[in-house]
């Protein structure tokens, strides 16, 4: 009952928005190829369901594969730099600068390096997008444990490893999850934009580009809907993991 009351306004807005869209397209006689009504998009989703499913799978593999590579790389570098102040001083400015540049601009170059039709080229774009936020936030989390906590551990004559596992890593978790929530969203953006510049024919980005160039906008929209669903699904999975991993965190309180 509490859930119903909590989510009812959002559901109402969603349904209302779809209805308004449908009615606006009909009432204002907007040309269907410019903005197809939701009913057309739904029809396209049903008609092309097999193609969309296959394309969604291709794009998802690229996104998740690249996410995994970026995550592993980001964590590895973060742990190495967090341990050594010298490495941190040398690397962090570049990482922060790299995080500020539009990495997606490298997509055509990655396509050239790793093969336009290969999923690896898309994974590499995604990996680069995910790497920097994960690395920077994890380093911040690992190095921001408060002085009193470290002093407490010192009074126990705790080893560096014990300080890492018992103070620094738990302290870094909120930073880490902030980064991978961003990374989850970025990974689908990276995969789809990578596909815009060429790739396997049955991929969401290809379907969007090709349908749009042939003015089959309902089909383009149906692929966008699938991409949106994948993005939201990925994000929700990460939120689920976050809740399981740190039920103690302030942002989780009062939810259980």
């Amino acid at each position: 009952m509490r859930y119903v009351r909590y989510y009812a306004p959002a559901v109402a807005v969603f349904i209302g928005g779809i209805l308004l869209w449908e009615l606006a397209v009909r009432a204002l006689q907007i040309q269907r190829f410019l903005l197809p009504p939701p009913s057309d998009i739904a029809a396209a989703l049903v008609t092309h369901r097999e193609l969309l499913l296959q394309a969604g799978a291709t794009t998802l593999i690229e996104a998740v594969g690249g996410f995994a590579i970026g995550l592993a790389g980001g964590l590895a570098v973060a742990f190495a730099t967090a341990r050594f102040a010298l490495a941190r001083g040398a690397l962090m400015p570049f990482a922060i600068a790299a995080n500020a540049i539009p990495i997606i601009a490298f997509a055509p170059i990655m396509n050239a390096w790793f093969g336009v039709t290969s999923p690896v080229s898309k994974m590499m774009i995604v990996a680069m997008l995910v790497f920097f936020p994960v690395m920077i936030n994890t380093v911040r989390g690992l190095t921001s444990a408060d002085a009193a906590s470290l002093e407490l551990m010192r009074s126990y004559a705790a080893s560096e490893r014990e300080i890492l596992t018992r103070v620094r890593i738990p302290n870094a978790l909120p930073y880490f999850f902030t980064a991978i929530k961003v990374g989850a969203t970025l990974s689908l953006i990276g995969a789809i934009v990578g596909e815009y510049f060429g790739g396997a024919t049955v991929a969401l980005g290809r379907i969007i580009v090709e349908s749009a160039s042939f003015l089959r906008f309902a089909q383009a929209w149906s692929a966008i809907i699938v991409a949106a669903a994948l993005g939201i699904g990925f994000y929700l999975i990460i939120i689920g993991i976050e809740r399981a991993a740190m039920p103690w965190h302030a942002s989780m309180r009062g939810q259980s």
Binding site: S155, M246, A250
Partner: protein, 274 residues
Amino acid sequence: MTEPKPVVAIRDLGKTFGNAGSETVALSDISLTIQPGEFLSLIGPSGCGKSTLLRVIGDLTRPTAGTIEVNGKPAARARTDRDYGMVFQAPVLFDWRTIEANVGLPLEIIDMPKARRAERIADMLALVELSDFARHHPWQLSGGMQQRAAIARALAFEPHLLLMDEPFGALDEMTRERMNTELLRIWEQTGTTIVFVTHSIPEAVFLSSRIVVMSARPGRITKIIDVDLPRPRSDATRESDRYFELITDVRESLKLGHGPRTDEVEESVMEPIP
């Protein structure tokens, strides 16, 4: 009869911060011996180095002159032997651990077997009367309860020495008085030697067997006052004539230290959190 071995022996100790040219003398000419079972308070104005002295005893900072022995060995050795427990002004409990897991943290570090650890945690929580809150997280507890958990954690090793750095400074006066009574009960029950840093004259008088009065810039010992109030102490103690005499005594000694800013030591209890 041999003299009991002192828990802390400090001789001609000094501590200077900073580099040559811009030095701050935090401690100068400190000599002090603390006997087993004592409850010793360090009191003085801000900047008198009382916290620094406590941190030197705990080997959280090193002296620049003189010698210090804890349990008959160098302070650094005493730390690695886990001879003392420390309680800070903030409870420093980890949000990701339950209260029992927080209390058990030092025991995990010394690799105490799980069964014995659970037993010890239960004992410590009973000692500070937090048994019903073992599974709670720190943020679900009041400030006073959090500090009690921190005391339980500091006592988990069963150390001979408990170092407390203004542990009740952030609590309201009523909670603080209750915590003082509790601390005396724990001290009597465990027989631990306590070194207690405070800003508050009434707190020092109520708790201590000896009060070390310090003056600022440079931090040195002005006077050591024996507190001969009978034990066990209770609310009645706080109303006795001797209690007020001793408060006056400590206050006069603080003025005697002619630290220009004795006004920084308050006589009542409320204290700004730095």
